[in-house]
């Protein structure tokens, strides 16, 4: 946070008034008053980050070193240790953890491949007049409570729900739809819940990549697919990255979807953590689990970025022209 507050302090303008600078520098508090001025102006930003991010995360870290002293107390921190971490890594936690990771990664991937053609269509094919309507329709689910929307899927996916009846009626299924309270139901639910978070940044990025550049690509002999792969997609990469982050990170910590649609066999790490805090009243183990989740999420994101960079470097190598000279 402090870096953000410090950034706006302008460099001392030496070049403009070399003669007067020395005098100014001598004046007490010249730099620090400027520093505090900038901090004051960015108050809303750093205060928000401080109170809603830095302090809560610091508390979680702190609690993860504590312990549960007795049946009726959730946390004690008079004696700090790393002991809660091995305790948190139980066999059931580890298996749920990897299941969660699989749901998150696959869910992010599904969101991406569903959102990409849709965002492309929205940004390029839909007339600007209709576009705001289409975008509003994408946003409509957000007007309803997350839990209520997920409960809607519970009704839809239930063995005696209308989807099940239709599919049996059409002869697609022999018996009732047996998907509720499984990982598949959770997978469907998370894709549904997080899809708009993928569509919006992709739409913005594809929209910004520009029709004119696509024309230039067609003009140079590239068809629609080539133009998409060589021009539109590379230029929309920032949108792909932010969409994946927006979906993957909250999805990894989601527990509502899994609670409503997953039942016992479709649980996610988020539920285990929530259980430690709410049911077991063991904040120390809950905090340790949360830390494991946070760190592993960061590691996965970091790995993702590395793979992306690597991929971009490789494709750039493959596509570039090997000029002997002039490749500076």
């Amino acid at each position: 946070m402090s870096t953000q507050a410090a950034r706006p302090t302008p460099p001392v303008n030496r070049s403009a008034n070399t003669g007067q600078t020395k005098e100014k520098e001598k004046r007490p508090g010249g730099l620090s008053s400027r520093f505090f001025g900038a901090s004051a102006m960015s108050f809303p930003t750093w205060a928000y980050a401080l109170f809603f991010f830095v302090i809560p995360v610091a508390l979680v870290i702190f609690y993860s070193f504590g312990y549960k002293p007795d049946q009726f107390t959730a946390i004690a921190t008079d004696h700090l240790s790393f002991d809660r971490y091995p305790e948190a890594m139980s066999a059931s936690f580890v298996s749920t953890f990897f299941a969660t990771l699989r749901i998150s990664l696959f869910g992010t991937f599904l969101c991406l491949i569903i959102a990409l053609p849709f965002a492309y269509w929205l940004a390029i094919k839909v007339s600007p007049a209709r576009r705001s309507l289409a975008l509003a329709l994408v946003m409509v689910p957000f007007w309803t409570n997350f839990l209520v929307r997920t409960l809607g899927w519970q009704i839809m996916l239930s063995p005696d729900g209308f989807l099940s009846q239709w599919m049996q009626g059409l002869g697609i299924l022999d018996g009732p739809l047996d998907i509720l309270y499984t990982r598949s139901a959770v997978q469907i639910g998370v894709v549904y819940n997080y899809l708009p978070l993928m569509i919006l940044p992709l739409f913005v990025a594809i929209d910004a990549s520009g029709q004119k550049l696509r024309e230039a690509s067609y003009d140079l002999g590239a068809g629609k697919v080539k133009t998409f792969l060589r021009v539109t997609l590379p230029m929309a990469m920032p949108g792909v990255v932010s969409g994946c982050l927006l979906v993957f990170i909250p999805l990894n910590g989601d527990y509502v979807t899994a609670t409503v649609l997953g039942g016992a066999s479709g649980s996610m790490v988020g539920q285990l953590i929530a259980n430690q805090f709410n049911t077991a009243q063991n904040w120390a183990v809950g905090a340790a689990m949360a830390m494991i989740l946070i760190v592993s999420t960061l590691v996965v994101v970091g790995l993702g970025f590395t793979l992306l960079k690597l991929g971009q470097t490789i494709t750039a190598r493959l596509n570039s022209v090997p000029l002997k000279d002039g490749r500076a």
Partner: protein, 393 residues
């Protein structure tokens, strides 16, 4: 795509290279191009010149394939290309805003078209190097477009199109974003490239100086209609209608009435002068009008070029035929010429340009006599809806 190795050796077939036949383009209720016929010769530098909204860019985009004609055919070397999508047409475009791909370096930008055409890599490298040398940008291959100035990006955009050896190079106001000095340099450069490459250039511009400086032929367009096709000199010296007369160069239009036609000359009366003209033709206001001969009593517009005006300090006697007395309202010294804005009578503003050499600079407010020759007076229909140059009403 646009070129294969075969293209460069395509022999001149004797057919006219690019032929636009009866092309019409309608956007909703708005007709952008009205049944247009145009033939572009092989290796020619042809400019489409006209004010914005005249349809010149629409015509270019139809040749490139970005717009489909509502009607008509576009033939390239005898083959109708209307049904071909842009990426299958052997033409390339230099765009107004360059449109270099920002995520690729200069070499990759230039190589883009060759890669689509599946040219072997060593040949791509060779041709990219050649074209970079051609536009004198060898040292920039590894840079990103954002690191280049506007003029440099312009050269790269040109190289990116030319490297494909297109049968026709389309240029869509490529210099409008450059400053004047750079623009003049690029004009010379473009002319040099055209001479060297022998490619057909179709150049869209609203800048008549640019068109006059570079073109073999100029197509003047207005309201989706070709007003005149010809060389720069031809269009300037012999405009077929009032629009061309007013659009190319400066022109003094004066409302007049025909008062007599005798052997070889016609007499016109304007608010402040009697004119004699050797032109007995009345040219139309625009290409959609019809020409005719002058008849007595007809209301027309007389037109005289500013550089055909002579300016002298007012003499003792009143000026006679083909002359008028006025007052200098403003003087601009333009280096090689002196430009006067002279008010004749109540509010006839006449523009006159006299060579700076051998003529004294007359101060604003000086009373002067204007005079001109009968052969410098052209006569046009007065018709509403055709804008004329703002000077000389």
């Amino acid at each position: 795509m646009t070129t294969t190795a075969a293209t460069e050796t395509t022999p001149s077939t004797g057919l006219d290279h690019l032929e636009i036949r009866g092309v019409k383009k309608v956007f909703g209720d708005n007709t952008a191009i009205e049944r247009l016929d145009l033939t572009v010769h092989k290796g020619e530098f042809l400019s489409l010149l006209g004010p914005s909204g005249c349809g010149k860019t629409t015509l270019l985009r139809m040749i490139a394939g970005f717009e489909t004609p509502t009607d008509g055919a576009i033939l390239l070397a005898g083959r109708d290309i209307v049904s071909l999508p842009p990426h299958r047409r052997p033409v390339n475009t230099v765009f107004q805003s360059y449109l270099l791909f920002p995520h690729m370096n200069i070499a990759d930008n230039i190589a883009y078209g060759l890669k689509q055409a599946k040219v072997p890599k060593p040949e791509i490298a060779q041709r990219v190097r050649e074209v970079l040398a051609l536009v004198q940008m060898e040292d920039f291959a590894g840079r990103k477009p954002e690191q280049l100035s506007g003029g440099q990006q312009q050269r790269i955009a040109l190289a990116r199109a030319l490297v494909n050896r297109p049968q026709v190079l389309l240029l869509d106001e490529p210099m409008s974003a450059l400053d004047r000095k750079l623009r003049e340099e690029m004009q010379l450069e473009l002319k040099r490239l055209h001479t060297k490459l022998d490619t057909t250039f179709v150049f869209v511009t609203h800048d008549q100086d640019e068109a006059l400086a570079m073109s073999d032929r100029i197509v003047v367009m207005y309201n989706g209609v070709i007003q005149q096709i010809g060389s720069g000199e031809d269009i300037y010296a012999n405009p077929h209608n009032g629009f061309v007369a007013g659009f190319i160069g400066k022109q003094n239009f004066v409302p007049a009435e025909t008062v007599g036609t005798e052997s070889g000359t016609a007499r016109l009366r304007t608010a402040n002068a009697i004119m004699e003209t050797t032109s007995l033709d009345r040219r139309p206001a625009s290409a959609t009008g019809t020409a005719g001969t002058l008849t007595v009593g007809e209301r027309v517009r007389a037109a005289i070029r500013p550089e055909r005006m002579r300016v002298a300090p007012a003499a003792q006697e009143r000026p006679g035929t083909n002359s008028a007395r006025g007052t200098v309202m403003s003087v601009s010294f333009l280096g090689d010429v002196i430009q006067y804005m002279i008010v004749v009578g109540d509010n006839d503003e006449i523009l006159a340009r006299v060579p700076a050499a051998g003529n004294e600079l007359l101060a604003s407010g000086t009373e002067v006599d204007l005079s001109w020759e009968a052969e410098d007076v052209a006569v046009y229909d007065c018709e509403d809806g055709v804008p004329s140059a703002e000077d000389g009403v």
